[in-house]
Symmetry: C2
Subunit: 413 residues, 2 copies
């Protein structure tokens, strides 16, 4: 019988990366698009071929179960295979495939030794982690952990008005499986920053997730003729929005002290006509920092920037908080366990923080959770040029395998 | 027999304004939408009821002909009934209805007197003057005057990918009529600025159209994660675009000397995702001035602003000229004739310039053209709150009627 190898992992990774592949070496696999459906069907076949039982739950999370003994509790490991538009092939997908290979290695080890572990093992491909097509992000894990209402998720629409529920149904991913709550969860992901590369470490043990404040900004002006309406008579929503975007970035870059990330990346302009001054602009505004005081100070600065924009562009601005959370720790015993495993494996590791949200950010609220990182070359993320080296991917699979070996023994339960 | 009256005009104007009416008192009648089709069918019925022969040409221009004698040359008068999104009910539509009522008055006068004028008379509702759904603007008059290629116009697509030709066909406006080149053209329109209101005049005689330079601006950055990518590593296309928009407006407002209008009003952001830094922003950039030196200086300033944005946001910017023209006179003899008519009528008038483009801007290149304005309250334009007072509308109809009386005598031919 064939035993799963590192070469198998790299081959499977290359196959997986062909679904929704882009000419720039990345993937475009937004949630519940045809390419997302294709990679899920491929993964289903892979799981079934290797002895996993595959089920979908009501929000389209894809589970592959290895039942070692009936009625034993489950350990869960995974990530997501959906992507941003024109994104890298590692983000999320690497973690799902790593979990599947790690689980398979454990199954093969059990079959060799004849030993039955106290916990069963399942892998998961969470639905719509990215949130680019359907908001909010981390949708599948949000519904699974009870943070997000199922009906609200079903009714989320993309820009063409297509609903989540209809797309899940169309692809056959609207299931009725109820995955038992796992007694612990593990996830491995690419870092998406360059801290680990700069420190020359192979494995990051995520100890905390940064705090964040996320907003929807609505700039309200008035339509006018771009030719005949005097500048002083205009209430130009796009001018107001531009001031906010430019000044926010300059504020964030001019600061010293705790790190702060500040971004605006979406914009809807009404009426978006070449000869009509914009009456309304809607945009996101995203602040992230490990330090809550820094976020509060940034919030205050944003309000001042907005007041300046209101005066200069003669517009009115609504600033609505959509999400906020403080610096939040991962399970300390999980970080300890991962440190012990990394030590035993002799890999270079360090404790890190995550700026990006992950499905594990939801999972750690309901179960002991271990989050691991492997390095991203130059920290490039949400970009076709995203890269994690083969040897780092393989070190991560080994690290996750050994971690799961502990978890199926009930170590964190 | 009923003789057409001022009351009829105001009643017809109110009826016309119900097609595509918005709750804010305006209309939303973008080119070749259902509401544009409805107002055209209503206008067709009105024309036929009053003895006009109605024809559509290959680009969907709607003509209503009054043939006084076979083989006589035609005088043409009109404007457009399509609108910007959420626009006013006067822009364009007033001019088409004014032309129809003026023509009908002349027909009735001929019937009373038994006199047959040397020229025939036609009114026109040009297709897609606004250009908000399908670019370029002034499409119908552009094709009619040979400035725009018919096939290029047919293939223009809206944001959903629908083509002009298919929409014209769907509504039955794809005709094969070939309107003879008129020996002169007249158009009346609301001013869309507040110069005439400030000067307390009722009739504007448009002597010149401002020069303009219009651009497409493409800002190219690189996708990155809005959380984990350091600010100094970002090449944020939306930040670059924001700098350009804000600095352009500040430059235009800080100037002295000849007037300058500067606007950005459309924007497409890619990938427009809440967690991905924008890789590309495409936007328009619109400069208008009566003074060519001022436009050249503004063009130079735009290039400097762009260089600053490229440095600060680490982006690359393409600036492509899409349209440009210098200050351009209307037929001087036409302005003289209109001044004589206004004098005889005893209305307050003045020579004005137009900042906005009009179908007459195309027509004056091929035939002697008279362009008239009536005042816009507070200069509000491309806005549901656009308003021209009843008495000003009626003064305009009277002014256009008397002007056309001269034109059908062959005065400008």
């Amino acid at each position: 019988m064939h035993t799963i190898t590192a070469t198998d992992f790299l081959n499977d990774f290359r196959t997986m990366s062909t679904f929704g592949a882009t000419t720039g070496g990345g993937v475009d696999r937004q949630a519940a698009t045809d390419s997302d459906a294709q990679v899920r069907l491929w993964f289903q076949a892979w799981l079934e071929e290797h002895g996993f039982q595959v089920h979908f739950d009501a929000i389209g999370n894809q589970f592959g179960l290895l039942e070692f003994s009936p009625d034993a509790p489950y350990i869960l490991a995974g990530s997501h295979m959906d992507s941003q538009p024109l994104a890298g092939r590692f983000d999320g997908s690497y973690g799902v495939l790593a979990a599947a290979h790690a689980a398979l290695q454990i199954k093969e080890e059990c079959e060799r030794s004849g030993e039955i572990p106290p916990c069963n093992l399942a892998v998961v491909n969470w639905f719509n982690e990215e949130g680019s097509r359907f908001t909010p992000s981390m949708m599948g894990s949000g519904v699974f952990t009870g943070k997000l209402d199922l009906e609200a998720a079903y009714n989320a629409q993309d820009l063409s008005g297509t609903r989540v529920k209809d797309e899940l149904e169309r692809h056959g991913f609207l299931g009725d499986f109820e995955m038992p709550a796992p007694t612990s969860y593990a996830e491995i992901h690419v870092e998406q920053g360059r801290g680990m590369e700069d420190s020359h470490v192979t494995i990051g043990l995520v100890a905390e997730t940064w705090g964040a404040k996320k907003f929807e900004v609505t700039v309200r002006g008035d339509q006018a003729h771009t030719g005949s309406t005097l500048l002083k008579d205009r209430r130009d929503a796009l001018f107001g929005a531009a001031i906010i975007i430019a000044e926010l970035r300059r504020y964030a870059e001019s600061r010293t002290g705790a790190p702060l990330q500040a971004s605006v990346s979406t914009m809807e302009v009404l009426p978006n006509s070449p000869v009509t001054v914009a009456r309304q602009v809607t945009m996101n505004l995203d602040l992230r920092s490990p330090d809550w005081e820094t976020l509060e100070a940034a919030f205050k600065a944003v309000k001042e920037i907005i007041e300046g924009a209101e005066r200069e562009a003669k517009v009115e601005v609504d600033l609505d908080v959509t999400h906020e959370w403080k610096l939040s720790p991962y399970t300390p015993a999980g970080v300890e366990l991962a440190a012990q495993v990394a030590s035993e494996l002799g890999v270079r590791y360090q404790r890190v923080q995550t700026v990006a949200g992950h499905d594990s950010t939801n999972m750690k609220e309901i179960t002991p959770t271990i989050m691991l990182f492997v390095p991203s070359v130059k920290g490039i993320s949400h970009n076709e040029a995203e890269l994690t080296k083969d040897e780092d991917m393989l070190a991560g699979v080994e690290m996750l395998t050994q971690t799961l070996q502990h978890l199926v023994q009930g170590t964190l339960a």
